[in-house]
Point group: D3
Chain length 248, copies 6
Amino acid sequence: MKLLLVNPNMTQAVTDAVLAAARMRARPGTELVAVTGDFGPQVIGSRAENALAQHGVLELVARHADGCDAVVLGVSLDTALWACRELLAMPVVGMTEAGLLCGATVATRIGVLTYGARMGPLYRELIESHGLGTRLAGVEALDVTPQQTFETPEQVRAAVLAGVHRLVERDGAEAVLLAGAAMASMADLLQPQVPVPLLDGIGCAIVLAQAMASLQLPRARRGSLGATGGRVVHGVSPALAALFARPA
Amino acid sequence: MKLLLVNPNMTQAVTDAVLAAARMRARPGTELVAVTGDFGPQVIGSRAENALAQHGVLELVARHADGCDAVVLGVSLDTALWACRELLAMPVVGMTEAGLLCGATVATRIGVLTYGARMGPLYRELIESHGLGTRLAGVEALDVTPQQTFETPEQVRAAVLAGVHRLVERDGAEAVLLAGAAMASMADLLQPQVPVPLLDGIGCAIVLAQAMASLQLPRARRGSLGATGGRVVHGVSPALAALFARPA
Amino acid sequence: MKLLLVNPNMTQAVTDAVLAAARMRARPGTELVAVTGDFGPQVIGSRAENALAQHGVLELVARHADGCDAVVLGVSLDTALWACRELLAMPVVGMTEAGLLCGATVATRIGVLTYGARMGPLYRELIESHGLGTRLAGVEALDVTPQQTFETPEQVRAAVLAGVHRLVERDGAEAVLLAGAAMASMADLLQPQVPVPLLDGIGCAIVLAQAMASLQLPRARRGSLGATGGRVVHGVSPALAALFARPA
Amino acid sequence: MKLLLVNPNMTQAVTDAVLAAARMRARPGTELVAVTGDFGPQVIGSRAENALAQHGVLELVARHADGCDAVVLGVSLDTALWACRELLAMPVVGMTEAGLLCGATVATRIGVLTYGARMGPLYRELIESHGLGTRLAGVEALDVTPQQTFETPEQVRAAVLAGVHRLVERDGAEAVLLAGAAMASMADLLQPQVPVPLLDGIGCAIVLAQAMASLQLPRARRGSLGATGGRVVHGVSPALAALFARPA
Amino acid sequence: MKLLLVNPNMTQAVTDAVLAAARMRARPGTELVAVTGDFGPQVIGSRAENALAQHGVLELVARHADGCDAVVLGVSLDTALWACRELLAMPVVGMTEAGLLCGATVATRIGVLTYGARMGPLYRELIESHGLGTRLAGVEALDVTPQQTFETPEQVRAAVLAGVHRLVERDGAEAVLLAGAAMASMADLLQPQVPVPLLDGIGCAIVLAQAMASLQLPRARRGSLGATGGRVVHGVSPALAALFARPA
Amino acid sequence: MKLLLVNPNMTQAVTDAVLAAARMRARPGTELVAVTGDFGPQVIGSRAENALAQHGVLELVARHADGCDAVVLGVSLDTALWACRELLAMPVVGMTEAGLLCGATVATRIGVLTYGARMGPLYRELIESHGLGTRLAGVEALDVTPQQTFETPEQVRAAVLAGVHRLVERDGAEAVLLAGAAMASMADLLQPQVPVPLLDGIGCAIVLAQAMASLQLPRARRGSLGATGGRVVHGVSPALAALFARPA
């Protein structure tokens, strides 16, 4: 089985972290291809960067998804997730979505921890848009940047641990999702110090993508996710233009 | 990997159908153990039979779960699902829950088709209790009994197909879950005639249980799903009494 | 009028407390029959015990409801409430449900106080399942066991009082329901020290059951609560098997 | 026990129907006092008339509630219900509220039938405001006026019956509330032709008001329903001005 | 353009504050007519006063709306808003509604600050009734009376400022609405000390009413807001009786 | 006052229709600048095109918003609306959002009519994301393309009219929003044949943008919409890169 991991921001260290976390959970023999954005935001830390990154995600899947069995979006805002599902004939899984869906089988309510004080509302909106708002215990948005994960890892881990405990104690979280591609390898490290399951979005996305691929469901021919076919777009890569133009 | 399939009703044909569907989706090398209730309802077709079957599920997991890697509940009302999660230290997955969670990655809204005109409200309540009500397109409760699946399969398949089309056309379902252990092998048969993905609860539960087992999440030590330990119950099997009494 | 009070756990002291509280509110001349579980949990303090107790409730109503005018479930998780409504041709009222319905006429939002730190989520889920989540101010789950009510009553009352005040001050509760059969007589004792109405679930259930009995509504012949009739179950008491088998 | 029945519109025939229905359900020995508005709408058939009738309700309770044990609002929009609860130290029950609360113990979802095609949204809003929207199966607003109930009763009953059947068949209502003071005696008449319980708002309000009165709950001293005390209003009856001015 | 400003309470200072705030935001050349209740509550600080004031609002619009282009309700509970929309053929805008609708374009979630500790639940209910509950960050109900705004303005402003900061810090409000006609001129004063937009209900209502007037939408001839026409009410002013009686 | 109208698709005829509709509602003296996308989708008729168009919107506002008083997004999926609010220091209004907010003052529930059978779910999701789901009567997604509006206008108008009537009759819509930039001038034409207000998204957006501009609210310095400042993006126009890089 071959999985495409898509990181639409331009920070290779994030792609590397995503790939490393993916390797931990992929079944033996799985081929993993990880790609990084070549335009757009250095890191996604705002609504506008996330809007821009949607184009980037489309470009990456247009160029790299052919021949894969499933796509995992390695960006914690599940950027362009449903657009990819419409464009592609294979399973596409978002890492925050996957963390919540897997978490839903081990916890009544899930806490979500992320980086960036201003990002809390975006995760709440994302989780509501997935229809999972009633399973959310709370969001803890740390005043930390993704870069600090690589530069001052110990301080960041201490802050993450404190945030996790607030979600458990204050909000009654029965599991906690570490939502951030930069945190991709942290759950295993911190789990021994946490009294509830720690969910790693990438790990959850990998096992869920493999599960979905094995179901071999056909593509819808009806509804808002069926192939559109024959759409005309300009000023994008030939691969993306061709993907839009492909007949339904 | 070894999975326990639990059918709390007393109809062996249902267990057989569940096991057959599970074999279709389990990874090569997976050991499947399917057990059938030895008291309680012949089939579950009412609220009271479902209430009674909760005891039956507990007895079956108490006697058979040791040594397994995960449990799949082969009963479409996800009977005693959260109780099992509290009692056991391994992943437990319900078939309707799994159908919805997997379906959530291929459809914005999911239709649910089941047997028994009076059972519609129970599925709506179940789906609401999973916090997934906003992902539900509609419920189609056919005037069919589980037994008819085995006795007049062609008529039943025609009725199922008509119900699926109502969910797609009338309710805008982008995927349809066949919710009923007795329908466990029907999705593959009918898929060619249906324009959206058909979800088989058992198949979804198998791949999701294997996904969850591979995540190797620890058991919670906090919250409503942590081990209770040391509980005293009477008048049940020694295995179940021992499971309740086991220290946390 | 004759009312059946059902306590599915095996602690007679709880049954006694329920019966005493019921006597305080029943109309003069009401006959009260209180029955205690003869298998299952000693006390219900977990999801699994509650699942098991559903069988116990069915057995008790099967043996004792004939000839009664209504049934009151003296178990604060309203265990098997809707199953009983389906099985029986008389009003059935749950004590937490009744506390909320009566409370809804004296408060915009109701606080719920119960025993057992891990039990908070179960009450939230129960109240949501009753469709009354928007009327809930908050849940306060004390770190107290039902037994302590009988062993160290003064400490328990102090803890209850503190919890009630948190619900009023922190959560804006305009009435507080003491949810726990073991607390059945505590509301009257504590009311003078509390600035909002204290609701006793048993008291509310008694007056509501008598109200419903006096309405003399017919049993539904349609929908998910109509008599099923002719259902086959095995391995239960003859009374319960006969109740299931009774024609619609 | 003495109950005040308040009809804020100026149609005596409605008051008479309310009183007759109340007598059917009140316990023996209950004293019933029914009062009719002396200003405001002839009948309430619009938002503006309902707004105006709030003043009327306040005037009626100010003049007549002293010495009563509880108040029943005999107006199906539960006009000024929470205002009365704030002003008065006794239970106050609305007829549609009571129909829903009682109905919640016999049906998972309740249909509501009322008069006036334009009135459907008002009932939906009312039921949402009671926090009971998830228990609503549907609203059927007939193109009938309250007066027609008294003038062409047979045609009206046929229309009501057809509407009830639509709620049951189309919307899955497991009980139906006849919401309209003018329908106060119709439920008993039509019940034999209806396969689910028919709820009469006045009957439900009477038994619920008597239940609440027997609980003898104290008035809140906190929250939005506690006595305000010492409020100054002008241009109203001395009784109402005095009720507002009464110290907390 | 001519706008009617309606203050149904009897405190002229509130009307003056409303008018002054309206002048700040009305387009040049707008004629503003501000009217004060001549019966009913001195100030609205309870549910019952708000119920009574509905009559007052109807009287004021009946006497003063003819010849105006739109109506602004200068009462922060949006008293009788929908009744006015049904009665009048021109735009009618409530000040709290307008604050929320305008705020919805500058903030994901809005905090609401008001006077009167007991009034918090009323604002929550109002906002829910507008269908805007998911946009509400929180309600802060200060222990302040409207009169104190005029008597001890500096203390009141300090209390308001502290409340605003709680809404921003604790509740994540991205804008704050000062909900209270008596606060009508305070937003501009306090804005420099607040890190998010401060919304003045009157200002928002003025610009929204002018916007709606310029759309020149026709009155509905269907639904719950269409003209009723020909309704009979007694004991009210000739103007109000005539407005009710006007043909549809 | 100067308003920027942004059409991110590449069809000039849509921009022209948007501009014409805007001119009808803008106050005298308003300067209107309408810009069209120079890359991306020819028309937006799918999730993926909408994802791609977010980049296009950002480019257009980066190049053209300086010196404007407000921005109106002339694309009925409100594409990149919140991203623009984060990037820009002026009011930004979406046309569907504006139609709903204005409609909320003239109707309890609003119907939405749009083009493209597959687009229905996207509008439902958009309206839910605005927190306005409870105000939605229904969505009618016609099997019509935007181009047909310009090519076969009479057939399209007939289809639109039929769809509007379904929303009114079947779903109880009290106002109907024509959601589609290509329909920008149709509301005035069809209004005489429709019994409820017809809302034109562009018209509503223009009056709401002018209203918001006149409020002169400051930009938030806190929360998810405050200026980010200093963000690094690559591979975009210098104007957009500069807008991202601008200090907070």
